[in-house]
C-alpha cells in the first residue's frame, strides 16, 4: 500500500507515477470535509468520487485539494467507472489544478466559515451571485462547494470573487478549548492585554490567520476579552495588568477559564 500526503507529493505527480507503473486500484484522499476516491485502470483515471459528488464534478473538486493524506490500494479491478476520455482526463485534471491555483482569496482550508462581511460597501451582484451569498453565509467553504448546485470549480471562482469584492469573509473555525489558568498580576504592562505562556500561544496563534484574542471568565462572571501576547515562563498562568485586575475586581491566584477566539 502506498501512503503519503499531497503536501509532499502533489496529485499530478502522484498520478503520473501510478500511470507509469500501470497500476489498477483506488487512490483514497482523506479530505476531512470531502473524502474522495480516484479509480485507476492500467494507471489511467477512469472514475472519481468526492464528498457525494461523482464523475467530472468530483474530479473538479479533487483538483482543488491540497495537503490531504492519501493511500493507494491495489485491486484486481476498479470499482467506479464514471470518467470518459482516457488520456484527456489527465489533461483536464491538470488544467483544473491550474485553475484552482489561480484562486488567490479562497481559503485552502475548506473548514473555514464564510460570513457576510460587516460594514462592506455597496456592491452590485448578479442574481446567481446574490443567491450564492445567501447560501454561503455561516457555511464552511466545503459545504458551499459541494452544495451550491453548480460545478465546484465554478462555485470556487464565484466565492473567490465575492471574497475579493469584500462581500464575504472567511474565518477559521477555532475549536473552543477552555484552559484553566491562574491570574497573575503584571506591573507596567498595558491594560487590555493578557499574557500567556509562549507554549500555549504557539499552540493557538498560528491556527488563526486573522489573529486571536483571549476570553476570560472567572467564577461564572462576565466574559472579558483581551488582546493576547506571548511571554516566557508563564505556564498555567495568565498575566494581566494591575489596572485590569483592579477594574475587574480580580485578584492574583484566582482560577479563570480562558479560551482563544479569532479576532
Amino acid at each position: 500500500m502506498l501512503r503519503g500526503d499531497l503536501k509532499e507529493f502533489p496529485l499530478l505527480n502522484l498520478l503520473q507515477t501510478l500511470q507509469g507503473s500501470k497500476r489498477d486500484g483506488s487512490l483514497y484522499l482523506e479530505h476531512p470535509q470531502a473524502p474522495a476516491c480516484l479509480s485507476l485502470r492500467q494507471g489511467r483515471l477512469v472514475g472519481a468520487e468526492a464528498g457525494g459528488l461523482a464523475g467530472e464534478h468530483a474530479l473538479e473538486l479533487i483538483a482543488g485539494m491540497r495537503a490531504v493524506p492519501f493511500r493507494f490500494e491495489e485491486r484486481p479491478a476498479p470499482v467506479a467507472h464514471n470518467l470518459a476520455g482516457d488520456l484527456a482526463v489527465q489533461q483536464r485534471l491538470a488544467q483544473q489544478v491550474e485553475d484552482w491555483q489561480a484562486l488567490e482569496l479562497l481559503p485552502r482550508e475548506w473548514d473555514e466559515v464564510l460570513r457576510l462581511k460587516p460594514r462592506s460597501g455597496e456592491v452590485e451582484l448578479s442574481l446567481d451571485m446574490a443567491k450564492l451569498v445567501t447560501l454561503s453565509d455561516g457555511q464552511p467553504v466545503a459545504a458551499v462547494l459541494l452544495g451550491a448546485g453548480i460545478p465546484p470549480l465554478q462555485a470556487a471562482r464565484k466565492l473567490d470573487r465575492l471574497l475579493g469584492l469584500g462581500v464575504l469573509e472567511a474565518r477559521p473555525q477555532v475549536p473552543l478549548v477552555r484552559h484553566k489558568l491562574m491570574i497573575l498580576p503584571l506591573y507596567g504592562t498595558p491594560p487590555g492585554v493578557a499574557y500567556v505562556d509562549e507554549g500555549l500561544y504557539q499552540e493557538w496563534g498560528p491556527r488563526v490567520r486573522t489573529g486571536v484574542r483571549l476570553s476570560l471568565q472567572v467564577r461564572q462572571g462576565p466574559v472579558l476579552h483581551f488582546q493576547v501576547r506571548p511571554r516566557p515562563s508563564l505556564a498555567g498562568r495568565v498575566g494581566l495588568s494591575d489596572a485590569d485586575l483592579r477594574r475587574h475586581r480580580l485578584g492574583r491566584g484566582l482560577e479563570a477559564e480562558a479560551w482563544f477566539e479569532p479576532v
Binding site: 498555567g236 498562568r237 492574583r252
Partner: protein
C-alpha cells in the same frame, strides 16, 4: 599563633562590629539601587506573597513553587536563634538591642531581596528540568572567571557550615532538649534524626520542599502557641516594653553606660548581630532555596525574600516583646540565655515543655534545610556524583551530633559560616546595578530575559 587562636581571631572579625557595618553598608547600597523597595513596594511584596498563598502548590511549570522555595529558606533560617538567640541578644545588649535589630532587618531586607533575585537570574538549568543555583553562581558572574575560585571558596564555606552549624549544632540542641525534657538518650535521638534526615534528603529538592512546606507552618503554629499566651499574660506591660526598647537604645544614659551598664557598642553589636545573623541576609544561604523556584521573573521571587524577612522579623520581635514584658531579663543580665528562656516559659500554661517542642521542631527544620544547602554546595564543587556521598556523611554527623565532641570542628564551622558573607556581600555590591535594572524592568512590564549560557547545553 595556634590554630585555635587564628580561628578565634577570624571569628571575632566576621561577627564583629566592622563586619556588621559592612553588612549595613551593602544593605543600604542595595536599598539605594532598588529605591528602597522594601519600604516603597512593601504592599506589592505582601500581595505577591501572602496574597498568593492560595496558589502555593501551583508552580510555573517547574519542580517547586515560589512558596515552597521560601518555605525551605524559612525552615533553614527560623531556628533556635530566633528564640534563645533573641533572649541572648537582650541579655548582652539590653532592651535597646531590639531597636538596632529592627534596623538590621530593615536594611537586610534589601540584601535578602537581592540574593533571591540574583539566585533566580543566574541559576543553571539542566536538560532533565532540574536546576542548580546558589550564591556561587552570581559570585562567579560578578567577579568574572579569573576570580571564579572565590565562588568555589563560598561553596566550601557553605558545605562546612552545613556540617557544623547546620547539622552538628542542631542535632546536639535537639538531643539536649529531648534528654532534659523527655529523658531520651542521645544515641536514640541521633538515630532518629539521621533516619528522618536520610528519608527527606533522599527525596531531593522535591522531598525537602514537601518537608519544609509542612514543617515551617508547624513551626509558626508552635511559635504562636508558645508566645501568644505569654503576650496575653503580659499584655499590660507590652507598651512599657516598647518604651524601654526606644529609651534604652536612644537615651544618652544608655550611651554613657547607663543604669543597666550597657555601652552603645554593646547595644549595637547585640542588636545588629541578631538583625543580621538571625535572618542570614548577607550570608547567601537562602539563595540555594530561592534559586529552585520556577517563576516568570526573578524579582517576583525576590519579593518572597522580603516576606521571608518579615516572618523572621515577627518571630524575633514577638519573642523580644514577650521577654521584655515578662521582666525575666532583669534577673538574668549577663546570665545564661537558655535558663532565661526556660524561666520565661514557666509562665506559660504548658510550662517549659512548649519551649522544648518548639526548639525540637526548629532544630530539625534547620538541619534538613542546611543538608540541602550543603549538598548543592558540594555538587557545585565536585559534580553531581557527590550527592549521595555527601548525604551519607551528613547523616553520620547527624547521628554523631547528639553524642557530643568535635568542639574544634564546630568552632571552625561557625567561623566559616560567617566567612560566607565576604564573597557574597562583595558580589551583591558589584551586581547592585543589575538588581536595580531587574526591578525597574519588572515594574515596567518587561519580560525577564535570562542571561545567556545558563543552560548546561549552552542555550
Amino acid at each position: 599563633m595556634s590554630f585555635e587562636a587564628i580561628n578565634q581571631w577570624l571569628n571575632g572579625l566576621v561577627y564583629g562590629p566592622v563586619m556588621m557595618l559592612v553588612f549595613l553598608a551593602v544593605g543600604l547600597y542595595l536599598s539605594g539601587h532598588t529605591r528602597f523597595l522594601q519600604l516603597t513596594r512593601f504592599g506589592v511584596a505582601l500581595r505577591e506573597t501572602l496574597g498568593a498563598v492560595r496558589e502555593r502548590s501551583e508552580s510555573f511549570g517547574g519542580t517547586i513553587t515560589p512558596f515552597q522555595a521560601v518555605m525551605i529558606a524559612l525552615s533553614g533560617t527560623v531556628g533556635t536563634g530566633h528564640v534563645v538567640g533573641m533572649v541572648a541578644a537582650i541579655l548582652s545588649g539590653g532592651p535597646g538591642a531590639v531597636l538596632w535589630m529592627w534596623l538590621g532587618y530593615a536594611v537586610g531586607t534589601a540584601t535578602k531581596f537581592a540574593e533571591a533575585t540574583l539566585a533566580v537570574h543566574f541559576r543553571r538549568h539542566y536538560a532533565d528540568g532540574s536546576i542548580s543555583g546558589g550564591a556561587m553562581y552570581y559570585i562567579r558572574q560578578a567577579l568574572g572567571p579569573r576570580w571564579g575560585w572565590v565562588a568555589g571558596l563560598f561553596a566550601v564555606f557553605a558545605m562546612f557550615s552545613a556540617f557544623g552549624g547546620g547539622n552538628l549544632v542542631q542535632a546536639k540542641a535537639l538531643s539536649e532538649t529531648l534528654q532534659t525534657s523527655f529523658q531520651v538518650p542521645p544515641a536514640i535521638t541521633g538515630l532518629l534524626v539521621a533516619t528522618l534526615a536520610g528519608v527527606v534528603l533522599g527525596g531531593g529538592i522535591v522531598g525537602v520542599a514537601r518537608f519544609a512546606s509542612v514543617v515551617f507552618p508547624l513551626k509558626l503554629l508552635l511559635f504562636a502557641l508558645a508566645v501568644v499566651p505569654l503576650l496575653v499574660v503580659y499584655a499590660e506591660k507590652i507598651p512599657a516594653a516598647f518604651g524601654l526598647i526606644f529609651s534604652s537604645a536612644l537615651s544618652l544614659e544608655a550611651a554613657a553606660g547607663g543604669a543597666a551598664g550597657y555601652t552603645l557598642v554593646q547595644i549595637f553589636q547585640a542588636g545588629m548581630g541578631r538583625g543580621i545573623f538571625a535572618n542570614e541576609a548577607g550570608l547567601g544561604s537562602s539563595a540555594f532555596a530561592h534559586a529552585q523556584a520556577r517563576v516568570d521573573h526573578p524579582v517576583r521571587q525576590g519579593l518572597w525574600g522580603v516576606t521571608e524577612m518579615l516572618t523572621s522579623f515577627l518571630v524575633t520581635t514577638l519573642t523580644a516583646l514577650a521577654f521584655l514584658a515578662s521582666g525575666v531579663w532583669e534577673g538574668f543580665l549577663g546570665g545564661s540565655p537558655t535558663e532565661a528562656a526556660v524561666r520565661l516559659f514557666e509562665a506559660h500554661f504548658l510550662h517549659s515543655s512548649v519551649l522544648a517542642v518548639l526548639l525540637i521542631v526548629f532544630a530539625m527544620g534547620t538541619l534538613i534545610t542546611w543538608g540541602f544547602y550543603g549538598e548543592e554546595a558540594a555538587a557545585y564543587l565536585f559534580g553531581e556524583g557527590v550527592r549521595w556521598p555527601f548525604r551519607l556523611c551528613y547523616l553520620v554527623l547527624a547521628f554523631m551530633g547528639p553524642l557530643g565532641g568535635l568542639g574544634t570542628f564546630l568552632s571552625l564551622s561557625d567561623t566559616l559560616n560567617g566567612l560566607m558573607a565576604i564573597p557574597n556581600l562583595l558580589a551583591l555590591a558589584v551586581l547592585a546595578g543589575l538588581v536595580g535594572r531587574l526591578v525597574r524592568g519588572f515594574f515596567s512590564g518587561e519580560a525577564w530575559v535570562p542571561p545567556r549560557g545558563r543552560d548546561v547545553d549552552g542555550r
